[in-house]
Amino acid sequence: MIAARLQAEPFDLAAEQAALLAGRTDLGAAVCFTGLVRADEGLVALTLEHYPAMTLAQMQAIADQAAARWPSVVGTAIHRHGRLTPGEAIVLVVTASPHRDHAFAAAMFLMDWLKTGAPFWKREEWADGTTRWVEAKATDDGAAARWNQA
């Protein structure tokens, strides 16, 4: 089971991993990925807009695909929305499995698809008062698409 969550509030990485691992002694590997707001020169904030009627269902569909692909993996994927400032965490993926290869692979899969397959849009806010919508990157699409070739 890989559970997806959507929230405005910050998350607690240690608490999320502890909750995932609680009561389990069969897991030999746990992987954590945190995506952060990077302070590109002059960047004041990122605002994540999303499609409330669709976002969580789409996140869970991605999580379900990962769980079907790596049945031994358990995990939690949390994506935040709203206005975030540099250094704040945007997205968390925690996975665990008996062996590390599946936990790493599932975490990578989840991130590649959260970036390209869930309805979020980032708007950058700059020190001079201007705003700009982030453009989608072909490299992100490529990273997600390679999972379809395997």
Binding site: G35, L48, E49, H50, Y51, A53, M54, A57, Q58, H79, I90, V91, M111, L114, K115, T116, G117, A118, P119, F120, W121, K122, R123, W133, V134, E135, A136, D140
Partner: protein, 83 residues
């Protein structure tokens, strides 16, 4: 049907949602975008480059040929940039 817009599509169209009744011959996503583009300068500008437009029909990602039969909510937005 309910149209909802996100990100710069929303800003260029000038509203986040509108309820519209397209003519009967508008049966696909591509036809809907063509028809919408004629509604205002904002719609036309937002939809000018279809390679930068993505659509969801009833909360499922859709392509230009996706049918609108029975659809209640059509979302129009730029390529997603989460993560």
């Amino acid at each position: 049907m309910q149209l909802v817009y996100f990100a710069w599509v929303r800003e260029m169209v000038g509203t986040d949602a509108e309820t519209l009744a397209p003519p009967a011959d508008v049966t696909t996503v591509a036809a809907l975008l063509d028809w919408l583009a004629g509604r205002s300068d904002g719609h036309a500008a937002a939809l000018a480059d279809r390679s930068r437009i993505r659509v969801a029909v009833d909360q499922q990602f859709a392509g230009p040929d996706t049918t609108l039969a029975g659809a209640t909510e059509i979302a129009i937005f730029p390529p997603v940039t989460g993560g």
